[in-house]
Symmetry: C2
Subunit: 338 residues, 2 copies
């Protein structure tokens, strides 16, 4: 058995530290309950760019710049960039990171990409392959909706299970030096597909993957859910969160008391017309880099398990009648010396 | 400085071994000069599936099965899958690998994805995070052409610089145990964009990235090009290869004598109407897993540098007038004990 692995989980012998985080979000997210935790919120979806896609690339670029500035670093200090987004051929990242001159690993894990990026980044640092790296992801309501569903101009009625793609980006700078918050383990997820076909019910498609990965992680580490002060999922939304609670309940575990879903928390359900909650690569990335990082630093939570969830489908796969494969990757983060 | 890194290059302290490779290609590729090196060639682009996209997923699935069978393994032996393809949201891989039940890292490096997958796979093994992993990529002429360029039915005239997307898939199984061929170092590429805007001239867009990464690798390792019996690029094609030779010539290095481009070699220029050569994630993946692996094992080459090249654009970015960012990641492979 590989020396740094237990079951499905990699235990990092030299846990890297998260030295800074940056996050930018859009106008809808600014009005949500976590609005005060973003470093910057933009009023205009285009951010002065000609197209939404160019705006999303700019989101990533400026989010990385914020995270680097907070750490007192520049792009020249980065050994690697781990980046991804939801767009076809991941152009949010490739164009956003184009001018950095930093070795680049492009990733696609749908809305789970931030956990994939953070996991590979931490694994790379702990192995002595790099000193300082960044993990960056983004999503944008306008680029995602028109790509995965309908032209925005169509103004289609949204179903109650549908989620609202977050316009936002999150970036974390990690160092191989010991420090806190630290990244301690990585449980890479398997693809789980229980046959959900409704592209407006991503929560249901991703909930079984979240259940699968979180269960594997707890089993591998040998702990109960309350070992973590917070078990964070990415964007199950309200519908997917209920389904995941139900799956855990059936296996004899109550996870609802310390579960937090970024998608279900980023908007105000009563006031904002966002149905089952937020979604997108930028949702849990911006919540992690802002709200969660703040709570880890201030001692609100000592240990969290960050489990980003993704739906690995495309408009084409849906049109061809395919079901929606889900995935979830879990990263354990310790806020302060325990 | 990170202990296992020199400049831009990771030196693997415990070089993993490539224990088997599998490759499947389409009818055009079967007729090319490397046709005899594929494990299987299919006569029908659909491989009996309803859509080309489903066919591409099947290509990946069956290629992985061939590679596993050769190693006497099953998917249950795999700790990780590193996979990617050219399709929007990488559905070739997510649907192809859906039923494996193996922790999955989805990657997007355009046509450079096989080097990205192989690099991360080898880094993961050398660090003791896994025992056995697979790297798989694919491309398909019909899925790619209609996504990046025009509907196939349109029958558009192809320009002389255009390349023909290879229908094919390659899979490598790697082990953390010492053996040959071994993966010795990984030079992850930076995004390089010199402003090429012609989506029918990918070779020109990728050549500067290949020059950049290969130069960095040779500098980091401290060797001249003839240290390698073969410097392999992915799919520069004939046009991109000439441009890369020119870039090296200007820097005082002749790389043309031991350079081999998979794209320029996979089709017969005189007979097959493929213009500047082959391209796609499956091009260098299937050539590496077949022809190159064979040559490494039989002692034809002792050391090769495998440099897959990618163009990180999409149909949307081209329509929005963007230039084409290129990337190239280089992996050094030793065929036999030196």
């Amino acid at each position: 058995m590989a020396e740094n692995r237990v079951g499905q989980t990699v235990i990092l012998k030299s846990p890297p530290s998260i030295i800074s985080g940056g996050c930018i979000a859009g106008p809808m997210e600014a009005q949500g309950p976590l609005g005060g935790y973003f470093d910057l919120t933009v009023e205009d979806d285009r951010i002065g760019e000609k197209t939404w896609e160019k705006a999303e690339s700019r989101l990533q670029r400026e989010t990385l710049a914020i995270a680097l500035a907070k750490a007192g670093l520049t792009v020249n200090d980065l050994d690697y960039l781990f980046a991804g987004d939801l767009l076809a051929q991941c152009i949010g990242s490739s164009f956003g990171m184009r001018d950095t001159n930093v070795p680049y690993f492009g990733l696609y894990g749908a809305c789970s990409t931030m956990a994939e990026a953070l996991g590979l980044a931490a694994m790379t640092l702990s192995a002595g392959y790099a000193d300082i790296v960044a993990a960056v992801t983004s999503s944008h309501f306008c680029t995602a909706e028109r790509q995965f569903r309908q032209p925005l101009e169509y103004g289609g009625q949204r179903t109650p299970t549908s989620q609202w793609t977050v316009t936002g980006s999150g970036a974390l700078i990690l160092s191989s030096l010991k420090g806190y918050p630290s990244v301690d383990s990585v449980t890479c997820g398997k693809i789980v597909d229980l046959g959900i076909r409704d592209a407006n019910n991503m929560g249901a498609a991703m909930a079984p993957a979240a259940f699968d990965t979180i269960s594997a992680h707890l089993r591998d580490i040998g702990v109960k859910p309350d070992y973590y002060d917070l078990i964070v999922t990415g964007d199950l939304g309200t519908v997917g969160s209920r389904l995941m609670h139900e799956l855990f309940k059936r296996s004899g575990t109550d996870i609802s008391t310390n579960h937090f879903d970024c998608g279900a928390s980023v908007f105000s359900h009563d006031v904002q017309d966002t149905h089952a909650g937020g979604s997108g690569c930028g949702c849990c990335a911006s919540v992690l880099s802002g709200y969660l990082l703040h709570g880890l630093r201030t001692g609100k939570w000592r240990r969290i398990l960050f489990c980003a969830t993704g739906a690995l489908m495309s408009a084409v796969s849906s049109q061809q009648g395919e079901s929606i494969p889900g995935i979830c990757t879990a990263i354990s983060i310790t806020g302060r010396e325990v």
